[in-house]
């Protein structure tokens, strides 16, 4: 297909690409946005409890990064809220009374977060250390509340509930059931742990690089060990939660489960396929099949019957391409999670046996990669759940193609191109700013001023 044909087409394809692009970008900002305050507070708590000025300095610097990151996340989040209207007006037009509830609570959380991040930054110099720390303690729960409410909306799209439909219109809403759909339980724990892991590994990776560059002082050790320990401790928990989530799909979203396992026919002794892809005829290529393992995992017996894609009508299940994408994304997520668990095991074994941090260069090389690995895992996790739900935007009730805007395809392609350029600019500014902060802070005594939401320099100097 050539470009002219694409431009003449309808808005469905570019709308899906645009939503995927903007969501994939926003979700990169979520781990630090939600979980960084907790890490910072742990560090501040260590500083206060042990009277350690280095820990307090680290916490102050982290709070600056936290604010910059929050500001960028606020922009990309605002864009997403408009896209619900620009790209998917009929989704909210029909399901707004139920799907919107989570977002309303998220609006509240976002508001509180903006204010308390401001207070936290302003308060460093102007509140007593104790009051500052105590006010800061509002940030982690508010962040979790925000994430939980967005997850509630996503869970509604996966397992809708709590609504009465009449002629396509929502006539009655049971708020409790709409806010707590079946999928929320596992989506919540799986994602909250994922973002705490990601934040921990990502922050630690900065100091793993510092270690590799030869910095081995108290500052580096503290800034590495605190976030890494938290993330590493959560890794095994995540393996269990992830496993429970996948199992829950068997009941809640069977077509998605069939897609991520590329199972075509409903059968017992179903193999677990690792890698590979499925074609339109239901043939799996290039994958490694482990006999009966899928049946064993689902039903604890090789005789357990697993539903296949062919058991669903063609217009109610993911296409072969979508199923292959969800499958590969799922495998990548599991692979990355298992690699993280091995690294965590290495870390804790060294701590237990030698009573000190690891000193192996290879350990720090892997730790430096763990941050990126976690971000990748978060991305492919979202790909799994979103692509695996296709062709539905609200499972079983509304197709993506029925929610899309009437705008011409060319319009959405143009908007998408504009957004890609603007996002590239924002990413460039964001990275430049972080690198500058990093360079400035290699100097021990550099100040932490000059962040958005933070206190301004105390005097107004026209020549500055």
């Amino acid at each position: 297909m050539n470009a002219a044909l694409w431009l003449a087409g309808d808005a469905l394809l570019p709308s899906r690409i645009q939503m995927a692009f903007t969501l994939a970008t926003h979700v990169l900002l979520v781990p630090l946005g939600v979980a960084f305050p907790a890490l910072t507070l742990v560090m501040e708590g260590i500083g206060l409890f042990r009277k350690d000025p280095v820990a307090l300095k680290i916490a102050r610097r982290w709070s600056v990064v936290m604010a910059v990151q929050f500001a960028v996340g606020a922009v990309t989040g605002t864009i997403l809220s408009f896209e619900f209207g620009i790209l998917w007006p009929r989704l909210m037009g029909r399901f707004g009374p139920a799907l919107g509830l989570g977002f309303a609570i998220e609006g509240l959380a976002f508001f509180l977060e903006a204010i308390f991040i401001g207070i936290y930054l302003y308060g460093w110099r102007r509140l007593s250390p104790r009051t500052h720390f105590l006010l800061g303690l509002t940030l982690p729960p508010v962040g979790v509340l925000g994430a939980a409410s967005v997850l509630s909306a996503n869970a509604f799209m996966n397992t809708p509930g709590g609504i009465t439909l009449q002629a396509g219109r929502v006539v009655d809403v049971n708020p409790a059931a709409a806010l707590f759909p079946a999928a929320l339980g596992y989506e919540f724990w799986h994602f909250i742990i994922a973002i705490y892991m990601t934040a921990g590994f990502a922050v630690a990776s900065v100091y793993a690089v510092a270690w590799l560059r030869g910095r081995r002082d108290h500052y580096q050790r503290l800034a590495f060990a605190v976030p890494f320990t938290i993330a590493a401790a959560l890794t095994p928990v995540q393996l269990v939660i992830g496993d429970l989530s996948a199992r829950a799909l068997v009941e809640d979203q069977p077509a998605k489960f069939a897609a991520i396992e590329v199972t075509w026919t409903t059968r017992d002794h179903n193999p677990e396929v690792i890698g590979g892809f499925i074609d339109n005829a239901g043939q799996v290529h290039l994958g490694i099949a482990l006999p009966s393992l899928d049946s064993l995992l689902v039903g604890y017996s090789p005789n357990a019957v697993v539903r296949g894609l062919s058991g669903f009508a063609a217009n109610t299940r993911p296409t072969a391409v979508e199923a292959s994408i969800a499958h590969l994304a799922f495998d990548a997520m599991v692979g990355l999670g298992s690699a993280g668990a091995l690294l965590a095991a290495w870390y804790f074994l060294t701590l237990l046996r030698r009573r000190r941090l690891p000193e192996s260069t290879w350990f720090y090389r892997l730790a430096a990669l763990a941050g990126v690995g976690c971000y990748l895992a978060v991305e492919v996790g979202w790909v799994t759940t979103e692509v695996g739900r296709q062709p539905w935007i609200v499972y079983g009730l509304m197709r993506v193609s029925d929610a899309v805007t009437n705008a011409p395809g060319a319009y959405v392609w143009t908007m998408l191109a504009t957004l890609v350029v603007v996002y590239a600019l924002i990413a460039y500014f964001f990275v430049t700013l972080l690198m500058r902060l990093g360079a400035r802070w290699r100097d021990e005594d550099a100040p932490e001023e000059g962040a958005p939401y933070g206190p301004r320099p105390q005097r107004f100097a026209p020549d500055a």
């Binding site: 809220s81 009374p97 708020p175 206190p455």
Partner: protein, 328 residues
């Protein structure tokens, strides 16, 4: 209760128009400041007063959008189905503004700096213009008649222009306050003159807009001048010159509160004149409201918002004010 939720939505839109308006207005003066030494000083002041809170006003915008799609889904669907070009332009302006405001603190070369000033300034004009234009399009009663009819109409243009004048006015008024706070005497005079200029423009453009409304939506004008919109229209008409007079005479008391009152009443005058219609002629509050279960949650969220936001915002404001009092 449906009316109450419509009022909450109106409050969120008004908060964005007034608080966000001050920010956009500062951006407009940044664009107009030029490159003279005095212009550079003005720009530095603008930068200094905006730095800690840039984009925090997005909260009001997001709240408005979320309230709209949860409480009044048919309004949301109809408005976006016909007005998506206006919303897209406003949105792009909003992102560019935020990005380039940040970038000018990072820019190395003078050229990059000038370019980011320019993008920041232009997007500060375009964003409020297109947001208000979408309200004008709604007020015109042409949402539902197709994209071209709804977007390209004189009411959208009139609302957009009024909002640009109003944001410039509130920006100038608050910058007078910031100049006083930082004891930049020359800048006080600089922005005093701009309050008078933009206030006069606001009155002129506002009058023209009334003519346009009279021609395009006579029933809306009638209830603005004779119905529910009247008290608020009156407040705007009286308070705007009062602010200009106070600032001109150097009576620096209450002028910022009155600025907010003048701009807020403008939004109220439109909304009350249009009620009970969300889309004039086609969709009322009662027709669009979400089922009772949803309303109850939204009301609870509003109550919690007020209970938690007011004290915490007070604390933030107190800390901000204390910071400047502390300076040597």
């Amino acid at each position: 209760m449906p009316e109450l939720l419509a009022f909450v939505l109106l409050l969120a839109i008004t908060a964005y128009s007034t608080a966000g308006g001050v920010d956009f207005g500062a951006g407009i003066w940044d664009l107009l400041a030029g490159t003279s030494p005095r212009g550079r000083e003005a720009r530095a002041l603008i930068d200094h007063s905006m730095a800690p809170v840039w984009e925090v006003n997005n909260v009001w915008l997001v709240l408005s959008i979320v309230l709209c799609w949860t409480a009044f889904p048919p309004l949301f669907q109809a408005a976006f189905a016909d007005l998506y070009p206006l919303f897209t332009l406003a949105l792009i302006g909003l992102i560019l503004r935020g990005a380039f405001f940040a970038f000018r603190h990072v820019a190395d070369s003078p050229r990059a700096h000038r370019m980011s000033d320019l993008v920041f300034g232009i997007s500060s004009v375009l964003t409020p213009f297109f947001f208000a234009a979408s309200l004008g399009a709604i007020a015109s009663g042409r949402v539902g008649h197709g994209v071209a009819q709804a977007c390209l109409n004189p009411m959208a243009l009139a609302f957009g222009l009024v909002s640009v004048a109003a944001t410039a006015f509130s920006g100038a008024s608050f910058l007078v306050g910031d100049a006083r706070r930082y004891r930049a005497a020359e800048m006080v005079g600089y922005f005093q003159r701009r309050v008078i200029a933009s206030g006069s423009v606001l009155i002129a453009v506002g009058t023209l807009a009334l003519v346009v409304i009279g021609l395009e939506a006579p029933s809306l004008l009638r209830s603005m001048l004779l119905g529910a919109g009247l008290p608020f229209a009156l407040v705007t008409v009286v308070v705007t010159p009062v602010v200009m007079w106070l600032v001109w005479r150097g009576l620096f008391r209450l002028y910022r509160v009155l600025t907010v009152a003048a701009v807020g009443s403008l939004v109220f005058a439109w909304a009350f004149a249009q009620s009970p219609y969300l889309l004039p002629g086609s969709l009322t509050i009662q027709q669009a409201i979400a089922p009772p279960g949803t309303r109850a949650v939204l009301l609870a969220v509003t109550v919690v918002l007020v209970l938690m936001i007011v004290p915490s915002m007070g604390l933030l404001y107190y800390l901000d004010q204390r910071s400047t009092l502390e300076s040597p």
